[in-house]
Symmetry: C4
Subunit: 277 residues, 4 copies
């Protein structure tokens, strides 16, 4: 039903997405805070849009790859849904995974249209992301029937990160550009990524003995381990954010001071995190 690779691969997707978003939002926040020191070269409105468009295209591409892999990789259902001869559904797990990828693909496509054409409201991209996360959690929720205790437990823990990501994305509809929410979303995405790896190592240990899936002490350790993953994700986000901030500030200091006199006084307090893009 599952495999080591089947958990490590999505884990990599989410981990890379988390790293990427952390860098992106840190960079934009740093340039916004230092607006008065001539940082517009680094992150102008147009370059932001180009970046978002590229990101969306990549998401669409990987979602497509994921869907095709689930369908046509070894043992996939190859687009057959129902076996009329033997009267049973074909590989429902693969179909469910493909559906999860589908929603991320839709989110990417909508985001692509929004940032490429500027005709639709900006906040739609966060709504689509929230729906994609929600759909992932929703399918996982009804995915766990009849498995072992520890198997259910590690997947239930995953739901905290998934539904948490959906909730934070939904809140971003109303608080777009709030760096605190953005970093929280990044941390939850990283957590999801690293937890997928952990699931892979717990359920399908590549070497060493299998875990006892009915031992309550294992469940307790795994719960604590989840907290450690969260702490690790927060650490990664924190280190990245600080690095980007320092680099931006040090590069801006080296800009020739002659520009300074031409600048308008900042019209907004740089502390305010609530700026809408």
């Amino acid at each position: 039903m599952g495999s080591f690779k089947g958990h490590v691969l999505p884990g990599c997707f989410f981990f890379i997405a988390g790293i990427w978003w952390t860098g992106k939002h840190s960079l934009w926040h740093a340039t916004r805070r230092n607006k008065s020191v001539g940082s517009t070269r680094l992150a102008s409105r147009a370059s932001q849009r180009r970046l978002e468009t590229a990101e969306s295209a990549v998401i669409v591409f990987f979602s497509l790859v994921g869907m095709l892999a689930e369908q046509f990789a070894a043992g996939g259902p190859r687009l057959h849904l129902y076996d009329f001869a033997e009267k049973h559904w074909e590989q429902l797990h693969n179909w469910q995974h493909a559906t999860m990828y589908l929603f991320f693909g839709l989110a990417g496509m909508v985001s692509l249209v929004i940032h490429a054409t500027e005709t639709a409201p900006l906040a739609l991209d966060r709504l689509m992301l929230a729906l994609a996360f929600f759909n992932e959690g929703f399918l996982f929720l009804y995915h766990l029937h009849g498995r072992n205790m520890l198997d259910i437990h590690v997947h239930q823990l995953l739901l905290y990160a998934v539904f948490g990501g959906a909730l934070v994305s939904f809140l971003e509809i109303f608080h777009r550009g709030n760096i605190v929410l953005e970093l929280l979303r990044c941390a939850l995405t990283l957590l999801q990524g690293s937890w997928f790896w952990q699931i892979g190592f717990v359920l399908y240990p590549p070497r060493g003995p299998d875990w006892d899936l009915m031992d309550h002490n294992n469940a307790m350790f795994v719960t604590m381990c989840y907290s450690w993953h969260l702490a690790f994700a927060m650490l990664v986000v924190g280190v990245l954010y600080c690095t980007v901030s320092c680099v931006v500030r040090s590069r801006l200091k080296r800009t020739p001071p002659m520009e300074m006199g031409l600048l308008k006084p900042r019209e907004r307090d740089p502390e305010s995190e609530d700026e809408t893009l």
Copy 2:
């Protein structure tokens, strides 16, 4: 207790409501965005009110029809609530369905009063809609005692759309005119409509063999199917929104350019979705 028609009919109501709302909100959002190009002819404040009044009247009418059908159609309780002779309640399911229609009727009536007289606060119509959705979900929640596994499952899935619609309507009290929330409500209403059809086809297949209501694989397929319905609803909303936007923009471009100089500069960024009507 239920029938194919009894699920398809409310499905049609909700589907039509979803389509209608999508068109309405898309039109208004498009005209608001293009305010500076003389679009007020298309959606003036007065015509908006007239439209809302008409919509409310239609909702009241169909709720009344629904209530009467539940009471007086073949096998209905004809306003008898308790059979004192045999000491049992009469047709509680019909009574419950009539109660659901009652709340939508109340929402329609309040909306009618608000938009026709302008004496009550505007946001009341969203509160009444939220209560109508909530009441529908509330009654469904306690409706499912003693049914089969799949029967319970398909109705529980419906609750996501119903309570989601209630929550979004409630949020609209505070964020009136936010196009993202409006489109989300439209998508959830469409989802509810198409899912009612799906329930009808699963529980009372008009032709072909019955579904095995105790098979866990069927439940898993149905869960995934719900995601597909959501994706389909999002697609319908997206296509409608884009069509309306394009039509509005192309019609506005054909207006004589001489008007242009008379227009005040737009006082608000057309990006802002938070405009209160």
Copy 3:
């Protein structure tokens, strides 16, 4: 453990509170909307404060009466908490009811201090009200161990109104003076009041046969009945609101027109419900 009177009395308290609040908030909203027509005589800031102070004093008084009644009425624990001789707790139900009254009394006292002295932040009165409702629901939640099915069900339904009231009061901390939230709180308080009566009539029917507490059909009827109570509460709120609005408007029209010229133009759209007092 309970009695007909023990449910009807708190029901009366909540029903009267609901009626009173509806009238109060309707009056203030109507005068705020018609500010420009010289309505300040009807609801000046000072008279509002006097009204709030009197209301708080009445709440404190009735809470005190309720607490004393629970302790010293026939069969009350008379402030004894533990029977050391027979090693059991004394009348925990009465103690729990007294605790509920205590929190409403605290809310009243804080509200009294706020409105009488104006030193504390205004929004504290809504927080205390939210905590009082929450505490009531919290105690009811753990109150139901070992009872019959229908007994549990009618009390669980009550929790919707109680926790709903707590949530709406909490939201009012951030949206003070929002008439929609205020009317919703009024409707939920009325619902709570009339449902207490219903509980009394279902569990301790004053005349007629007892209800079968294990019959599932009774539970289904009672659920629907709850919806009807909500519709009834909404009707009462609606009728009261319209009456008050009409009376205020007709009285203001009779004011001599000579005042009119002295009035400043309204600085806010009367539509806005978000005015902070």
Copy 4:
């Protein structure tokens, strides 16, 4: 697995934190309200930052002490996680408690960096606090397997305060400086502290007979007792707030009146609780 001391010590930490926060926020709110009377000496921006920095350092210190105590006190795991010889996890409870302290330590460290360097967004400290509370509740939630009824119940009641604190801290991200939310957080922290003591006295009574952990009446008493703890916490917060307010006002009255003429008119209504620092 637990001990009297192991519950009393964290109880003291939380109780002291609650008292300290109440004093701090009351002082700042009082000085903000009386801004126009020259209160800046009492709570200037710089002294606020110094205070926050010191507070964060103390939190980091105590978290470190707590982690070391859990690891190296008598019976601790001394950083051994898994006993490979006997194939079981070492002292998972101590590890879990250390993890809880870790998150409060991280929150303290982030807060230290924010207030000492002013490079990161202010609201991050509330997010980290919310995550620390959430993590504590999360670990407690999966901590209770296989215990007695009353043991589970007293720990579940604790979760109301813990998750309540997490929610309020999260809301403070968006409503920073709202005195009502701050006082609510203080009250919930005090409640958590005093409830830890109560758990110690119920589960490990230092003298007198043990409680019957399976008696439902004990559970009902304990539930009510929780309400009393909440009322007590609210009382403590109320008394402290009033005391601080009075002291600040009386000290400000004694300032020489000659300053008065130099002051600008207050630019904000002192009633507004929504000021961002």
